[in-house]
């Protein structure tokens, strides 16, 4: 209560996003911070979905997670559990979490913990597994499962120790501000932030006396190899920021965007936890040799939380290097994309100044009203998964949310405020 107009409420939401103080403080087993993650419970990306409606990669991720947890001996056993509804599914977003691509998160997977010190809330995201055959794209072979165990047993605990060694954890805003000036947009390109992250943790990890040298080397090597490691940090950060902003409880700023391969879902501040969904689009972009649009899975993953906070595809101008990769022309196209986004984002975030945009702040506060009014939807940078589980990533590009989500959201909100036709 206490806002005179929707513009005022939206401004309050934006101020809450600007004020956010996200710190990466720990890496812990998911079940230790998400009590809902009991035996036979899995988290997934996007708005709620039934197992039978999941696309093949997400189903494959489920098989992988079950094998990792040891709830079944083999694929057959895992499929049996899934098909007989023995597994309970919860959207990541419902338990303060986000998950990339399939977003399948199981109780013993390690998750990054980002604390928003301004608001006191936490958000979680599993760690990036690298590229190639990985669980988030639906792969579940032995190598994938082994890597997950290594992440649980080695990477997670080592990073936990390193982060705890930092007073108060790692200030993520500072890292983002640095990396945006080095050409990252935090969805398609995270290499600068990942290196900056490595720069922060490497000296600490090297000095961890209670960790075997071999493990320290493995961890450093993994972080050095994983260009997209920071994406998952950015996602947890986005979630921590946007959940805090959502507590304003009024207005039309979008507080979550996510996809489950079937539906695209959004939330707006004025409608709390309610999802407004519509069928997802399929990304458009460039494909690795040998693949084409015909092989592409529909849009999937919680990573659009980055665009929700105003980076990712929306901040294309920050990352001219990837504009080609995601299928747009070049610098001028990137500029045009970001300029166009200012018609639907109502503010700019002074914390994230973009040098290539004449130091204008990254977009802030996606106003669902503006989306409906202009017909312009946010541009989301995304990886493209093969539609068959296990092939992994086959390309990258951009995708737009279906506008119906925004139409439904503002109509519901207007009705809540007393609008009658």
């Amino acid at each position: 209560m206490g806002y005179k107009t929707i513009n005022e409420a939206n401004e309050a939401v934006n101020q809450k996003i600007i004020a956010a103080a996200p710190f990466l403080t720990d890496v812990v087993p998911a079940k230790s911070v998400i009590p809902e993650l009991e035996e036979h419970v899995l988290l997934h990306a996007g708005p709620p979905i039934k197992y039978e409606n999941m696309t093949d990669p997400m189903q494959g991720s489920c098989v992988g997670a079950i094998l990792f947890e040891g709830w079944a001996e083999d694929e057959e056993g895992a499929r049996e559990l899934l098909e007989n509804n023995k597994i309970t599914f919860i959207p990541c977003h419902h338990v303060n979490a986000v998950g990339p691509m399939g977003g399948i998160t199981s109780p013993n997977m390690p998750v990054l913990v980002v604390v928003n010190k301004e608001n006191g809330n936490e958000a979680y995201c599993q760690m990036n597994e690298g590229i190639g055959a990985v669980l988030r794209f639906g792969a579940y072979n032995e190598q994938v499962i082994n890597r997950l165990h290594w992440m649980k047993d080695v990477l997670g605990p080592v990073l936990s120790k390193a982060l705890k060694a930092m007073e108060g954890g790692l200030n993520v805003n500072v890292l983002i501000a640095k990396a945006i000036a080095m050409g990252d947009e935090f969805h398609q390109r995270n290499i600068a932030a990942s290196l900056a992250f490595l720069k922060e943790v490497a000296p600490i990890i090297s000095a961890l006396e209670d960790v075997e040298k071999e493990k320290r080397t493995e961890v450093i090597q993994f972080l050095a190899d994983t260009d997209q490691f920071f994406l998952n940090v950015a996602m947890a950060t986005g979630k921590a920021m946007m959940d805090a902003a959502a507590t304003i409880g009024h207005g039309t700023v979008v507080t979550a965007m996510c996809r489950n391969g079937e539906n695209f879902g959004i939330r707006i501040a004025g409608m709390g936890d309610e999802w407004f969904t519509a069928p997802v689009n399929t990304p458009q972009g460039l494909y690795f040799t040998g693949y084409s649009a015909e092989d592409a899975n529909t849009d999937i993953g919680d990573s659009a939380i980055t665009e929700t906070m105003g980076v990712g595809g929306v901040a294309m101008i920050a990352a001219p290097a990837v504009t080609r990769f995601v299928g747009s022309g070049g610098f001028n196209d990137a500029l045009e994309t970001s300029n166009q986004m200012t018609e639907i984002y109502i503010g700019e975030n002074p914390n994230f100044a973009i040098p290539t945009w004449d130091f204008k702040g990254a977009c802030l506060g996606l106003d669902a009203r503006k989306v409906v009014e202009t017909g312009i939807t946010p541009v989301i940078n995304t990886g493209i998964a093969h539609k068959i589980a296990g092939y992994g990533q086959i390309g990258a590009g951009t995708v737009n949310p279906p506008i119906e989500c925004f139409e439904k959201a503002i109509t519901a909100y207007a009705e809540k405020l007393g609008f009658k036709e």
Partner: protein
């Protein structure tokens, strides 16, 4: 065979598309073609004009739809190419001045330099919403758009009045604000006569006659035809009258309207009786029953103009109607009909008033379709009526319907006189006289071959400063054989005279009336509107921007397209949210 072409997400204004329809219709091998935006209303027009197809249903309000009736499928490709070329030209020219044009309010307001006036010419169903947006931004509104609901007009005008702003229109065809011609307007000299008018061509006729008498009009404020209805209560007219009263540069105030609701007329007269400046009123259709000390009640547009000029010259009002006596046309006894085919609604209405008065015994048949008047012998038609303009350009732009009417009535052996108007100025056809002249010639020639004579009377509404040039238009029409009358009043009286009738000029006494004291103060925002060159945001027809700019005023073109893809429910939702103020948030 019908072929459908849909161009998704390419909005164009209806006038652009209508002109394009005309152009495409002229292509060889095309039987019929229509190009419109895919709104539900337009789809109905397609269907009712025999161009309904299944594909058509898929089109959305932001899609351009072309339905072609052609024998050969190859024609469709040609039509498509033609459309592409035409629209490319359109958007190409927009690119050149890209920086100066906006496609949303935010940008329009950024580009504009202290804007104070929004000129709105977008489709009626969207116009009220944008007018409200304009008022919320503190802009006066000139609403050229028609088909705006009366409730919306009431709401907008009340809102404007509370904010100290003026809403001119809806369906305001013309206006002059501090010497700046708006919409369909003539270039008139500036001067000390201030005009408030509820009608478009009424204002044009009066201001151009004033101009030809050597006097001028700095402000001619259009109110829209329903302003003096009971529901609207003359909100705009009263604010305008008060503004002209307060403006020291205005010497005479001239008020033109169709007869208003009785109580509204009293309200307006009461305000006028509080005013010390000389006032001329014309409630077109009411034969004045009295004069007042300070208020001259005129009977016709010409009279209102002439008396305004006399008062501005400090002379005593004295008006004698004129009839052209030197018309040499031998009519047979069977030729008794007066046929008037007008592009100007108020001119048509004035013609009907006078013809009716001259032939009182001929009881008019019930008003139907676009007949302003239809008796046994006579007919007056307003070709600008909605019935004729659905999906077609206005007759001031498109001569087609008039040509058709001229031919039909010319072939009718009962027709004695045909009357046509040629309203020139901004927004009108570049050379309408030249379009009509061949038909006039042919109609006269056909009648002669049929052993009849016929009088075609014409009047040109305009000034020498207008882009088409008054004298040139008159000359072209005269050469075609038309008899030129200086005013509509003279044309109609001449027609009546030719078939043996006469309209008596009312001779009346001066009476005095008690009046209640009225607060004549007016918001300074309205004063500054009429006292400074407006800075305009033009929402809709681009030609209006060009006209404003060529008159030396600042104007930002707002290339409007329906928000929310033209979905009316979502537009209402947005409107609700954008202006929500309440205790729920």
């Amino acid at each position: 065979m019908l072929y459908t072409i849909i161009k998704e997400n390419t909005y164009q204004d209806s006038i652009v598309l209508m002109l394009l329809s005309n152009k495409l219709s002229a292509m060889d091998g095309v039987n019929k073609v229509s190009i419109m935006m895919g709104t539900p209303a337009n789809k109905d027009i397609f269907k009712s004009s025999g161009l309904g197809t299944d594909e058509l249903e898929k089109a959305k309000p932001n899609d351009i739809v072309i339905v072609v009736d052609a024998e050969q499928e190859e024609k469709v490709t040609e039509v498509k190419e033609e459309v592409e070329a035409a629209l490319k030209g359109e958007s190409g020219s927009q690119d050149a001045s890209k920086d100066q044009e906006a496609h949303n309010w935010k940008r329009a307001l950024e580009l504009a330099n202290n804007p104070n006036l929004a000129l709105i010419s977008i489709p009626g169903q969207y116009a009220a919403m944008e007018a409200e947006n304009a008022l919320n931004e503190g802009l006066h509104v000139f609403m050229f758009s028609d088909n705006v609901a009366k409730e919306d007009e009431v709401k907008l005008k009340q809102m404007a009045h509370e904010k100290g702003l003026l809403v001119m229109g809806p369906d305001c065809g013309t206006g002059i604000i501090h010497g700046l011609p708006l919409a369909f307007t003539n270039i008139v000299k500036e001067g000390d006569i201030g005009v408030v008018g509820a009608s478009g061509t009424g204002i044009q006729e009066v201001t151009t006659i004033i101009d030809r008498y050597g006097k001028g009009v700095t402000n001619a404020i259009g109110t829209g035809g329903r302003d003096l209805s009971t529901e609207v209560g003359a909100i705009t007219a009263l604010d305008s009258i008060k503004a002209l009263n307060e403006d020291p540069k205005v010497k005479v105030i001239t008020v033109i309207s169709k007869p208003p609701a009785k109580e509204v007329q009293e309200k307006v007269l009461n305000v006028l009786r509080n005013i010390e400046k000389p006032v001329v009123t014309l409630f077109l259709g009411d034969k004045p029953a009295y004069q007042e000390e300070n208020i001259y009640h005129a009977y016709t547009l010409e009279e209102a103009a002439v008396v305004s000029v006399q008062l501005s010259n400090g002379e005593k009002p004295n008006f004698e109607p004129k009839v052209k006596e030197d018309v040499n046309v031998a009519l047979k006894d069977s030729q008794v009909g007066i046929k008037g085919y007008y592009s100007g609604g108020t001119l048509a209405y004035e013609a009907a008033v006078l013809v009716k008065a001259a032939f009182e015994d001929e009881v008019p048949e019930e008003k139907k379709e676009a007949y302003i008047l239809k008796t046994k012998h006579h007919e007056i038609i307003d070709l600008g009526d909605d019935i004729y303009t659905q999906g077609k350009p206005h007759p001031m732009i498109d001569p087609e319907k008039r040509i058709e009417m001229l031919e039909t009535s010319g072939n009718d052996p009962e027709t004695a006189v045909i009357m046509i108007d040629n309203v020139i100025g901004y927004g009108s056809h570049d050379d309408m006289a030249n379009e009509l002249a061949p038909t006039i010639k042919r109609v006269l020639e056909n009648a002669r071959q049929d052993g009849r004579e016929l009088a075609v009377l014409a009047t040109v509404v305009g000034t020498e400063q207008d882009p088409q040039g008054y004298d040139k238009q008159v000359e072209t029409l005269r050469e075609s054989g038309a008899i030129i009358c200086e005013t509509n009043d003279q044309m109609v009286r001449t027609a009546i005279n030719l078939v043996g009738g006469k309209v008596e000029q009312p001779v009346v006494d001066v009476q005095t009336f008690d009046h209640t004291k009225e607060d004549l103060s007016v918001d300074e925002k309205i004063m500054s509107l009429i006292n400074t060159k407006p800075s305009v945001i033009n929402i809709g027809l681009k030609s209006f921007t060009e006209a404003v700019q060529s008159s030396g005023s600042e104007c930002v073109q707002f290339n409007w397209r329906p928000i929310a893809g033209g979905d009316e429910k979502l537009m209402k939702v947005l409107q609700f949210l954008n202006y929500y103020e309440g205790d729920k948030i």
